[in-house]
């Protein structure tokens, strides 16, 4: 179980024919309370899909009742027709939930209006025609009928080019967190990322959830930069049911949530399209956390560096060429650069022989010591490989 591990949630995943592969492509997570609350963060890309435009409004309406997610089409840049598809999807979910003969959700908090239903879509931009709409809207009754408190099918129904399901669970003291995620390409979040649904039975209000969620995503998904390409459909949804009756310490909950997000980010990195190395770029001795992130990201986005790692070449010169393009405070001729624990550059000159460095393991650690302060940050990225090019060119689609 994943998003249904915490009490108070049901989920389902079914196949409605959006994917040519015939795999599951429509998922639903429902919050049955008794004390529903929610928080959502969205992509900071100005080009936003219709489900993002819709869900931004829903997020302002109070606790979300449910989130429906489809793969097999992003419904992005599909015009007014696409927005109407999203609205009709939410409406269908609301209608079906309202018609449930008797749900576990208490009558006094139950709000089955479409304005309480978040929508997420993922897939090809520009996809969202009449057939797409029909398959989703007509699939909703079956989806709601399949809802179960011990469901295991939802995580699979949100995948696109992902090769594995991504889930995480945290057991607190009397409360739990469950989560599922998808994402394998266009992985360079800004304030949010990919499609993620996190549930908890902790009893927390939406403001507390929001603070904890922004804190967690800021140091996890925001520091995952697989290919520098920010998506139009990123959304992270956090739903709390209050079913445990326990209100955890705020810091304890925030730390647990950050741990769950960090685990999902690592799973996303490990499944990035075509990658052969998971690279953690750790910047230390920075004058600020922002500087550390900027420096690390400049390396994470440098194609020459990424291609060198693919070739198991510890090319520290490309690291220095990359960080030299930033505005961060440091002296480029004073930094140290280490690959997998071997210091290859010291004080602006070659140090240990590159032959001492073994880059054959998939897990790769690059450490950059700036000698400019006491702050640090790590950005996760991947190498640039033949398979990445192949999977993202038309040859694979």
């Amino acid at each position: 179980m994943t998003v249904t591990t915490p009490a108070g949630f049901r989920s389902a995943g079914i196949t409605v024919g959006l994917k040519t592969s015939g795999k599951p492509d429509l998922a639903l997570v429902v919050n049955d309370g008794p004390a529903p609350a929610s928080a959502v963060v969205f992509t900071s890309n100005r080009a936003q899909a219709n489900p993002i435009l819709w869900s931004r409004k829903v997020a302002q309406n109070g606790a979300a009742r449910a989130v429906i997610l489809n793969s097999g089409g992003a419904n992005c840049f599909t015009g007014d027709f696409g927005y109407e598809t999203t609205r009709l999807t939410a409406e269908a979910v609301a209608r079906e939930l309202a018609s449930e003969p008797q749900g576990p959700v208490p009558a006094d908090v139950r709000d089955d209006r479409a304005e309480r239903v978040l929508v997420c879509s993922t897939g090809l931009i520009g996809t969202g025609d009449q057939s797409f709409r029909d398959k989703i809207v007509n699939g909703v009754p079956g989806l709601v009928a399949a809802l179960a408190a011990d469901d295991t099918t939802a995580p699979g129904a949100i995948l696109t080019t992902d090769s594995v399901e991504k889930t995480a669970v945290h057991e607190g003291d009397g409360w739990t967190i469950g989560a599922m995620a998808k994402g394998a390409g266009m992985l360079a979040p800004g304030l949010a990322t990919m499609l993620v649904v996190i549930t908890t039975d902790a009893k927390l209000d939406s403001a507390a959830l929001d603070a904890a969620l922004r804190r967690a995503t800021g140091v996890s998904f925001d520091r995952l930069d697989s290919d520098g390409c920010m998506s139009t459909n990123d959304q992270v949804t956090l739903l709390a049911s209050g079913a445990s009756g326990v209100t955890p310490d705020e810091n304890e909950f925030a730390a647990a949530l950050a741990g769950v997000c960090d685990s999902l980010a690592a799973q996303l990195q490990a499944d990035a399209e075509g990658a052969s190395h998971d690279i953690d770029i750790e910047v230390r001795g920075a004058a600020s956390v922002d500087d550390a992130v900027e420096v690390a990201r400049s390396v994470a986005r440098n194609n020459l560096f990424k291609a060198a790692i693919f070739g198991n070449d510890p090319n520290w010169g490309r690291v220095l060429a990359a960080i030299g393009t930033t505005d961060a405070a440091f002296d480029p001729y004073a930094v140290d650069v280490s690959f997998n624990g071997v210091r290859l550059c010291h004080a602006g000159a070659p140090d240990r022989p590159v032959e001492e460095c073994d880059l054959t393991p998939r897990k790769t650690h690059v450490e950059i010591e700036l000698f400019a302060g006491t702050f640090a940050a790590t950005v996760r990225t991947n190498d640039l490989t033949h398979d990445y090019v192949h999977e993202n060119s038309a040859y694979s689609s």
Copy 2:
């Protein structure tokens, strides 16, 4: 002829053993006046090679007497030893020029001090040991002895992974411009680019040359962004001899210089490492030129877009996802996107069928109409290919 097409210049290219291939690797261009003047622009990368650190000082000393260029090693991040190598190189050139029994340069303008000798290096970062120094310094006498006013060997001696020589000539009214360039990777200039030497026999002072050069590079090399990776060794040198005795109209000269730089930028694009498409990203209807360049560059640096072009896939969704990350003034749901003349996206929704678009030609044109103003700019880039990954991973080195 190229840099020696204008009167008042000699050049040479020889082999001193820096390249394992045994190809020519050391070049020299000498300005014999009679009215020498010069202007230089440098990489804006804060990580700068020793020859850049040296040449920045030379550029402040008045008209440069000569520029010596080596391939086979960048002499970047090689510490104080590397800087001393650069100084010794300039000193050797100065000494040999001073000892020429009788040169064509008039005695009253002849300045053979090392402080008048620009140095450029290109190759692997971190390369610049004792052997590197010895080969260059010991090679200078033979290089100076090989100087000729009808030389054709210099352009070949500055190449690294380039497959062809890059040269350009402009014939003015009584004056000429000649130029040579190298560059095939790490092509994302900021204020300058690659190694370029441009000569002219026009009679212009250094201030006029500087103004014309910055104007020309700003709309040519600065808008070439093959792989988003800025080099540590970029330098564009413009030398004027005054040998024609003609002082051209300032605007006419600036336009001619811009044409030469534009031709070289196109040649660099066409020879970019592993590329199979030369992509011109034209942004129109922008609120400012800066906006147009920012929008175009966001597409030029988007790996998913670049991989799609490699696969002949007119993936306009990735264009919109890329431009949505910029701060430029426009409505993402109002733009038009065309590939090779076929409008695939109109007003935030799909327009013509992608099947109408043929991306098999190497030359690719992407037009983005922002409907936000009257300004336009074009950024040149390349696709992301298997060969790019191969050439830049250790497998090829």
